[in-house]
């Protein structure tokens, strides 16, 4: 076999990443979702150069002012520029959840894979603990931890990462179970590959997709929880702007100044809807949703 034969293999297979990306973009849900998510991320990154007002500075002449050429989204009950505050709120929400989501995926995913591989009694016991955690309404344990340890980001990130890693365990364990039962894992064992190599080569590529989609879902839930906490007054401390805090504050003035509620609500929901749409398109593009593909 010579090089010429190796080169004559025709068009190269596109990398899986680009194939999946193309598929995601070609779907309406994927295109809209990805635009929303990327838009939010870009805005968060460049907002320090966009806003001209300090989000903390109050101006008594501007209290509950309607949107104008100077203050595009109006101002709140303390006379602060809402646009600046919404943008700054997005930065904080994305920063906290952006760090917490990968941590949640990592520890949840690793625990899930381990449990799926080990099985038996350890698996049984740990999964019952997981069930117990999942049976508690989401915000309650968060509230407890936040009231004990405070509301700084150094508390929020590990707290969110811990609680949102737990559902990941369940999903990844199930995915691992499915893969481990298949013959290619058995074939690798029969050849005598080490356990680590089987996990790395045979298992991971097959649970990666489930993990990615699960990560997107957890991210959107985490954003909602983060804002809920602030809304309830347990999250980010004022005067730092957060969407939850902003909604809570502006709620009282809604008949007078609806823009104060609308702006953070639209920001939060567009991001969460964007993430969900992207996750949906991603799942379809990667064939996790198999029923649709089986036809052709």
């Amino acid at each position: 076999m010579t090089d010429t034969a190796l080169q004559s293999k025709g068009p190269r297979r596109l990398g899986r990443f680009s194939v999946v990306l193309r598929d995601v973009i070609s779907r309406p849900s994927g295109a809209i979702g990805l635009t929303l998510v990327l838009g939010h991320i870009i805005l968060a990154l460049i907002s320090p150069w966009l806003v001209t007002y300090d989000f903390k500075s109050m101006d008594s002449s501007l209290i509950l002012e309607a949107p104008s050429a100077e203050h595009w989204l109006g101002s709140d009950h303390l006379g602060r520029d809402i646009l600046s505050r919404v943008l700054q709120g997005g930065r904080i929400a994305l920063l906290v959840t952006g760090i917490a989501t990968p941590i949640a995926l990592l520890w949840g995913g690793m625990t899930g894979i381990l449990l799926g591989l080990v099985g038996g009694r350890v698996d049984e016991v740990v999964m019952r603990v997981v069930d117990a955690f999942l049976s508690i309404p989401g915000v309650l344990p968060l509230l407890v931890l936040v009231t004990i340890f405070g509301t700084g980001n150094e508390v929020m990130v590990p707290t969110l990462a811990f609680f949102y890693g737990i559902p990941v365990i369940r999903v990844i364990r199930a995915a691992t179970h499915d893969v481990v039962a298949r013959d290619f894992v058995l074939a690798a064992r029969a050849r005598g590959h080490s356990r680590l190599s089987i996990v790395w080569r045979e298992l991971l590529p097959n649970v990666r997709d489930a993990m990615l989609v699960e990560g997107a879902m957890r991210w959107s839930w985490m954003l909602l929880a983060f804002s809920s906490l602030s809304f309830l007054g347990f999250g980010v401390a004022p005067p730092t702007p957060d969407w939850g805090v902003m909604i809570a504050d502006a709620r009282a003035y809604m008949p007078l100044a609806p823009w104060g509620v609308l702006a953070p609500v639209i920001a939060l929901s567009s991001l969460i809807i964007g993430i969900n749409l992207t996750a949906d398109a991603l799942a379809k593009a990667m064939g996790i949703d198999r029923a649709r593909k089986a036809v052709v």
């Binding site: 076999m1 050849r191 080569r201 590529p205 097959n206 052709v296």
Partner: protein
């Protein structure tokens, strides 16, 4: 002549491809079925046979649409009807019996309740008459003790019994026509033979029309009077079953027949080269032109119509008159046979394997029943270069034995040795790389045994890296070399398993096994997930490797004809115990174990003149008896209490052939 019940005219069905073009999966098919007629539709996967069958009940899979033609049931157009009307017909006048009834029965409902649902939809009886009617229906499908079946759940029934329940359900609406979609595929040969007899009798007694879809010409030969052969969405040959099977007038049908291994033929079956065109990819001419030995210019340019080919059959072929020049069987290569007295390559010594695990309660009360091993008392020596066939029905422990040899299951007793050497460690984790590489295994379903996320290059690299430490250019070159021995080119290296056909996938799996340069290759039902023409190619490939490398095979299959084609020696297993072992021609000869006779007699051959003989009861045993002969409960020649209490002796007939039975050799049939 009576009006046809199902009348399909010039039906074309297709879907819209990625490029926006309409791609046909069914092209200009005509089919008429009258009362009392049974028509078989045969074809390989992707030939459109299931699409045709489902279309005849006005159903299309998602994404498909009718491009042209019509489907009439009792004179009315099915695709013009409203959904509610269709629902009344389906299950009522037109019954469907699907392939896997175990999956079509609701697991949480008792059989009686499920059947009552079917009655509620499609019959006029009062509720109080249901019970009697259901018991009657269950009796009609010859289920023993219908009252007991009535209160069972589907999982408590065997596959054959589930299939009978599905048939009873289809009969509930007193149908005019039955649609059968591979109803016996996946069942054991003995069960299959019983179900087919039942279907024949039902169709005759009730004067029903039947459309029977199958990939198995043997089954069609048994049940249908007329047969239609499908290829790439077209009917390429149709006519009376006897004529079509004896002297088919289409080159594809002849190739298909030649690729089926036969019990009476010692040659390897002949593989059909190439693969069918994808939907819409056939070009202007005949869809089979690219694979046809008789192809002429006209075939490439013009699509043939169905034309009369004598004996009441019609062929879609310009050269049907010359088709008989092509062989339809018996011309395959001779398999390489080997003496079985050479150096031992693999020996199993009194191996037993047990799946039973004691639960928490058993240990708490210490009262677990005596453990009966799933596989017991297996002593076999396979000589170097020999092929040993392991046959038996599902649950006979044949795959279990292979897994124990591969070190994937710990045996409860006995030892497994390779070559002249010492016993192998029981588990794969304790074996040394040099011991591991000597034994390689090929699995049943390549969809499952190849990692869907790995390219062919990565798949082949695994054993080469592990055993030979190859990397870089050397690894690539060696991989390509191995790919070429399984007749796949270097351009396959970058493909994922999802981009390959079933046969190509199994070639890659075979290549991966041989990349390790093994001495012993364990084949676990490696052809049962493939089409017959592809199966023949796999058998040829294994035979080639045997010629090149003198490989020793242990070949497990439920298909006796496939085992016959390749094996030097055959071992027959029942309930994890050996019944008979010996040279292939002896085991398939006249003198054999009662169980072997049952198996051999139940095999269906694509020959309308040969009928299977039903010898044993169609029951499935869940555990072997604790003492005596494993076959005692089903044996028609049981010798009283001796068979229940005493383990039967091995009786040698000479030439290495031994039968384990209490019946004296003279009475087991002579040569």
């Amino acid at each position: 002549m009576a009006r046809p019940i199902i009348d399909i005219r010039d039906l074309s069905i297709g879907f819209t491809g990625r490029t926006g073009k309409t791609l046909p999966v069914l092209r200009n098919v005509d089919l008429t079925v009258r009362r009392g007629e049974s028509i078989g539709i045969v074809g390989e996967s992707g030939s459109g046979k299931s699409t045709l069958a489902l279309a005849s009940m006005g159903f299309l899979k998602q994404g498909l649409r009718v491009i042209g033609g019509s489907v009439c049931f009792n004179g009315e157009d099915m695709f013009a009807r409203k959904r509610s009307e269709l629902e009344a017909i389906r299950g009522g006048q037109l019954g469907l019996i699907p392939q896997n009834s175990g999956q079509s029965l609701t697991p949480t409902m008792r059989i009686g309740a499920q059947m009552a649902e079917a009655l509620e939809l499609h019959c006029t009886l009062g509720k109080d008459a249901y019970h009697a009617r259901i018991i009657d229906l269950l009796g009609q499908v010859r289920l023993p003790d219908p009252e007991a079946i009535f209160i069972r759940y589907p999982h408590e029934l065997s596959g054959g019994q589930q299939q009978r329940v599905a048939i009873a359900m289809a009969l509930a609406g007193e149908p005019d026509a039955l649609l059968l979609d591979e109803p016996t595929t996946g069942l054991d040969v003995t069960t299959q033979a019983h179900i087919l007899e039942l279907l024949r009798d039902l169709a005759r007694d009730r004067n029903m029309a039947m459309i029977y879809v199958s990939h198995d010409l043997g089954v069609i030969a048994r049940v249908c009077e007329r047969v239609m052969v499908m290829y790439a969405g077209e009917a390429v040959l149709q006519g009376p079953t006897a004529e079509v099977l004896k002297d088919p007038a289409h080159p594809y049908a002849r190739g298909l027949l030649a690729s089926i291994p036969r019990l009476c033929d010692t040659h390897l079956p002949v593989a059909l080269d190439g693969r069918p065109p994808p939907p819409g990819g056939g070009g202007a001419g005949c869809a089979f032109a690219a694979r046809c030995a008789l192809v002429v210019d006209q075939c490439q340019a013009e699509r043939p119509a169905l034309m009369g080919a004598g004996n009441g059959s019609q062929a879609r072929c310009f050269r049907h008159a010359d088709a008989h020049t092509l062989a339809a069987g018996g011309t395959g290569a001779d398999p390489l046979h080997h003496r079985s007295d050479g150096q031992p390559a693999l020996s199993l010594d009194d191996v037993s394997i047990s799946y039973a695990s004691h639960g928490f309660l058993d240990r708490l009360f210490g009262g677990a029943a005596k453990d009966i091993p799933t596989v017991d008392d297996i002593s076999i020596t396979v000589a170097s270069g020999e092929t040993l066939g392991l046959v038996g029905e599902s649950g006979s422990g044949k795959s279990t034995i292979l897994k124990a040899v591969a070190g994937l299951l710990p045996p409860a007793g006995g030892q497994i040795a390779v070559g002249e050497g010492n016993a192998l460690p029981t588990m794969v984790e304790q074996r040394r790389p040099q011991q591991l590489r000597r034994i390689q295994m090929i699995f049943q379903n390549p969809d499952d045994s190849l990692n869907p996320r790995h390219t062919v290059a990565e798949i082949l690299a695994q054993p080469l890296r592990l055993y030979d430490g190859l990397s870089g250019q050397a690894l690539t070159e060696r991989s390509v070399e191995i790919l070429e021995t399984v007749r796949l080119g270097a351009h396959y290296m970058d493909r994922l398993p999802g981009q390959l056909s079933g046969g190509e996938k199994q070639r890659v799996a075979i290549a991966r096994a041989f990349a390790a340069e093994p001495e012993i290759v364990l084949c676990d039902e490696i052809t049962s997930a493939l089409d017959v023409s592809v199966q023949a190619a796999m058998l040829e490939l294994l035979n080639d490797f045997k010629k090149m490398k003198d490989t020793t095979y242990v070949f497990v299959s439920h298909d006796l004809a496939v085992v016959r084609a390749l094996s030097d020696r055959v071992a027959v297993l029942y309930q994890g115990r050996l019944c008979e072992i010996g040279p292939t021609e002896k085991v398939y000869g006249n003198q054999s174990h009662p169980y072997t006779s049952v198996l051999l007699n139940a095999v269906l051959e694509p020959d309308p003149d040969v009928a299977p003989t039903l010898m044993a009861e169609d029951v499935v045993e869940l555990s072997p008896p604790s003492t005596g002969c494993p076959f005692q409960r089903r044996c028609t020649r049981k010798q009283g209490v001796t068979c229940e209490n005493e383990t039967p002796p091995w009786r040698e007939t000479g030439g290495g052939h031994a039968i384990r039975c209490h019946i004296p050799l003279e009475d087991l049939g002579g040569d």
